[in-house]
Amino acid sequence: MANTYTLIASSTVGSGGSAYIEFSSIPSTYTDLCVVFSARSNRSADTDPINLELNGSTINDSSRYLYGDGSSAASGSSTSQTEIARMPAANATASTFGNGLIYIPNYTSSNYKSSSGDSVTENNGTTAYAKLSAGLWSDTSAVTSVKITSQTGNNFVQYSTAYLYGIKNS
């Protein structure tokens, strides 16, 4: 069981928005990684899915997810990308940001890299989701960079934040 969290780096999106938030040159001195984010997208919709890319790779990714909006639930999967979270978008109540947590255990191991994500988009509006995701990057490389991106090709808006933590199991 992980028992120590250390802030490795943090970021805040500036006034122009940003397509990706990427943590690079991640040290290999931890056991697990955790990204905690507060985010909103400029997509013309209620919400926007977030993809996770490890080492900038867009191949050998897969994911499954479960989400609900308070009246119904649904699930989905992908064999081509890691859909790890969801954030409010342009049609959500103004000045609201969603939040979430992405966990990547054993990121330096020589096994395939699993990930999990939980996220929420509550905005006291018509549509909001709570989402739980499972991801896998079928690659044995140690993770040295973590990127989150709008799956629909839109941008994180200003004041979106992301924090990368390293966790040691001892």
Partner: protein
């Protein structure tokens, strides 16, 4: 030109750089894949909804009440 935010964990430096042509192409591919997946999902949901409505109509024709059908 879209940009990305890169945080170097060794230095703590945060830089905003323009996307490469490859990254822009990947973004467009991701968006297209999402649109296709969404369309497929909606089509499946429409088929399910139509099948449900048809089944409910047949049950009603057999004499079941709306309450009995919803209890199934």
């Amino acid at each position: 030109m879209p940009t990305k935010l890169i945080i170097n964990c060794e230095t703590g430096e945060q830089t905003e750089v323009e996307l490469t042509a490859e990254e822009i192409a990947q973004r467009e591919a991701d968006a297209a894949a999402y649109a296709a997946e969404q369309a497929e999902r909606e089509a499946v949901e429409q088929v399910k909804a139509a099948a449900k409505a048809s089944a409910e109509a047949k049950l009603a024709a057999l004499g079941l009440t709306a309450e009995e059908i919803s209890a199934l």
